[in-house]
Symmetry: C2
Subunit: 126 residues, 2 copies
DNA sequence: TATACAGTTCAATATTCGTTGAACTATCGT
DNA sequence: ACGATAGTTCAACGAATATTGAACTGTATA
């Protein structure tokens, strides 16, 4: 995963309306939501929502699919998890014990690392 | 976890220098880094770094501890994971099977939910 | 084809953010 | 106490962001 992409993701999530919209789509799951549903849920004028949805889409955090005259948006959970994996790369210099301590035993991140590095193939993988 | 806090976290991570600084601190683990080390690693003037470190600190993503005339910064991994948990709340309407599909089988998030809801005690948990 | 509906695009404005240089505070070594 | 080191704070300027209203594109329906 490139840093530019990661920055776009974080910037996308650093606005109230985009954060709300994304969380709504996360809750909606694979079914996603149509733009109008999001606008209603967030009580936003359509042009403003469109602006934010565009940012979310360009970041890759959401996908759009046309459905008649509707636009159906869906959360890209995978990208979000890849982003977290990017943040955690070489956490604690890859010392698992020190890392567990720092996390307060929250949950093991190892599966994230493995998956992320296998799929996004970071830098040295090639 | 409150939305305001989450927004601060994402805004903190949506700048190149803050993202770099945070990742450096993640790699450094519990030992953290002194401001000068970060400035050297990132090739930034101290006043500019100070500006960004302040934002990171205010978001809670990093902590500071004075050490003689140095300031030692450490990543708050826990907050970052809590933030991810906030994003994933009620993912796919809490349908684990649909959720696993959406994630592309990346890794199970259940431990995140449990931990996050147990500690931050969100809204409907009670 | 004409009308309504669903969303997007555009221009303008106000606000916020990031960088720079200068001055400042606090600590260490002598 | 003095100078040097480590960092922070402040003011100012340019760049980027968010919101609004108006006009626009495309799809459905009569």
């Amino acid at each position: 995963m490139e840093q530019d992409k990661v920055l776009q993701v974080f910037e996308a999530l650093s606005s109230t309306v985009r954060l709300d919209a994304f969380r709504l789509l996360v809750r909606a799951g694979g079914g996603g939501c149509v733009a109008g549903e999001i606008a209603a849920a967030l009580a936003l004028p359509p042009n403003n929502l469109s602006f934010h949805l565009k940012a979310l889409t360009q970041s890759g955090l959401v996908t759009v699919e046309q459905e008649g005259r509707f636009q159906r948006y869906r959360a890209n959970i995978r990208l979000m998890l890849d982003t977290v994996a990017y943040l955690m790369e070489n956490c604690c210099g890859d010392n698992p014990q020190a890392c567990a301590e720092l996390r307060g035993g929250m949950f093991t991140l190892t599966p994230i690392f493995e998956s992320a590095q296998a799929t996004s193939g970071e830098d040295g993988a090639a």
